[in-house]
């Protein structure tokens, strides 16, 4: 049985069978109502449909009756949950406990933010679910009612052709099975591999177990079916992901293609503002540092023969990568927010996979593995780091 958030032995996972006849969302909100009644938490952070019925927003719920309007599996993700959580808990914790009902990528962002000291997770119960992805905002706003219907179908068939491009190639749509030091959500709702109309609620920590005990749903059942399906889908998605990244690399790689990929960028910086792990209050790229007096622009124009306005578009993109790629959780929120339909999320996720690989790191996997830029090794430095920084004199490669 799990005692902490860090279960290394995935085999010991147990769960409780729940009915999902009226949909996974309803199953989760029903569960939350029970847990609320038993005082398992004081507040719930969850997506709720806005009054105009055409979008969803994060709401900190105190009144269980409002759970009827909540949708843990909202069809869209206008604000990344990790960012929502951090805006509540940046400046400390309260005694009251909050249940955050978020997607797996939102939990990953929350963990990164925790390590970057942008959120405190002490009194938080993290609740996630198997995630089929979300619809692109642009498609959704064409017809929200259609979108609702379409998304119901997506959940039922687990069909990913209409979800956001990054959701289509997401290999972390559930809990990190078989991953070393992985941090698990306190509770996870799994439906993959389960027979129709059923699912599992699975505790990932002792806190989660206690909650299940309190609501009378003590986890005793093996969850093998679910596990093997999660593993199967993960393998499929990984393959799809690496193929997609390979194709994208052909398209955008190189000093000729890269500027083309970002040629439509209007420098609005939306991508950065909505990114959950871009947490700086004052971004360098928004600062006066890049606003130069006219002589400087004229000089640059003279040197180059011409100068684009606003200049430094690629500097912003690649510079942002150099600051946060190791924390990028490939959520795709940036791409959703881009008014110019630039494949910004796909490019960032491609770069993130490579850089995180090089540092033997996975953004959001573990609360306990430190962020690679906050630590270092002396003698035992990572091979990749040493090789990348080999001097000409040492290698003699250019002699």
């Amino acid at each position: 049985m799990a005692k902490t958030n860090n279960k290394t032995d995935a085999k010991s996972m147990k769960g409780t069978v729940i009915s999902t006849k009226e949909g996974l969302s309803k199953a989760i909100t029903d569960f939350l109502k029970q847990a609320f009644e038993k005082n398992c938490f004081d507040t719930i952070l969850i997506p709720v449909k806005v009054p105009a019925n055409d979008s969803y927003a994060w709401v900190l719920l105190k009144d269980p009756a409002l759970l009827d309007d909540a949708n843990p599996l909202a069809p869209i993700m206008p604000v990344q949950g990790g960012k929502a959580l951090s805006s509540i808990l940046k400046h400390g914790v309260t005694d009251s406990s909050i249940a955050a009902v978020i997607r797996p990528c939102e939990m990953k962002a929350a963990i990164e933010l925790y390590k970057l000291k942008q959120v405190k997770l002490d009194n938080i119960t993290l609740i996630t679910m198997d995630c089929p992805g979300v619809l692109p905002l642009k498609d959704w706003f064409k017809n929200p009612d259609e979108g609702e219907k379409k998304f119901k179908d997506i959940i039922k068939k687990w069909d990913d052709k209409d979800v956001r491009p990054l959701c289509q190639i997401c290999d972390k749509f559930s809990v990190p099975l078989n991953e070393e030091n992985a941090t698990y959500p306190d509770l996870h709702f799994g439906v993959l591999g389960c027979s129709d109309g059923t699912g599992f609620v699975i505790p990932g920590s002792s806190k989660g177990e206690e909650i299940l005990d309190t609501v009378g749903l003590t986890a005793t059942k093996e969850v093998d079916k679910w596990e093997s399906k999660v593993n199967e889908v993960t393998t499929q998605k990984r393959k799809k992901r690496s193929e997609a990244h390979k194709a994208l690399n052909k398209e955008v790689g190189g000093s000729k293609n890269l500027p083309v990929a970002f040629a439509l960028c209007i420098n609005c910086h939306n991508c950065m503002r909505v990114c959950p792990v871009c947490y700086c209050q004052h971004c360098y790229f928004d600062s006066e540092a890049l606003n130069k007096p006219p002589e400087v622009h004229l000089m640059r124009a003279a040197q180059k023969g011409s100068l684009l306005f606003k200049p430094d578009c690629l500097l912003f993109q690649v510079g942002r990568m150099s600051h946060m790629t190791l924390s990028c959780v490939s959520c795709g929120t940036c791409e959703d927010a881009c008014p110019m339909s630039i494949k910004v999320g796909q490019v960032f996720s491609m770069v993130a996979d490579q850089s995180q690989d090089a540092f033997n790191y996975q953004a959001g996997r573990s609360k306990d593995v430190p962020h690679p830029l906050r630590v270092f090794e002396d003698e035992q430095e990572l091979d990749q780091v040493v090789t990348m920084c080999k001097d000409i004199l040492e290698t003699g490669e250019h002699k």
Binding site: S255, S322, S355, L373, V385, I392, L393
Partner: protein, 141 residues
Amino acid sequence: MSEGFEPRIVGFFCKWCTYAGADLAGTSRLQYPPNVLPIRVMCSSRVDPVFLLTAYLRGADAVLIGGCHPGDCHYIEGNYYTRRRVALLKNIFETLKLDTERLRLSWISASEGPRFAKVITEYTENTKKIGPNPAKNKIFI
């Protein structure tokens, strides 16, 4: 194309070591190519990867960071962080198929005048070989 091409190399040198090493190379009257534009920083870890990127994207033919040898940083551990950041930037360059060869990190101490001259000579030669930075006259960069 690179006939008569004199590269412009931007160097970010740590005040305590590489910058002093450059001084020593000068006072020892060592010869090395005049292609480096040195910028003095208090520690190699002062150099945000964005500085390197800025120089590169604005057309510097190559960029060099000079810091104290590992273990010798005046601020104890600054250069270990530098090493990771530079490795990360190079990794990003690799993924995006940009010129990793135009980015260098060298450890050069205050007493290594000859090493300084050697690094600059080699780096300049190599940059001449690979030619001018294509970013130099691209409008959309």
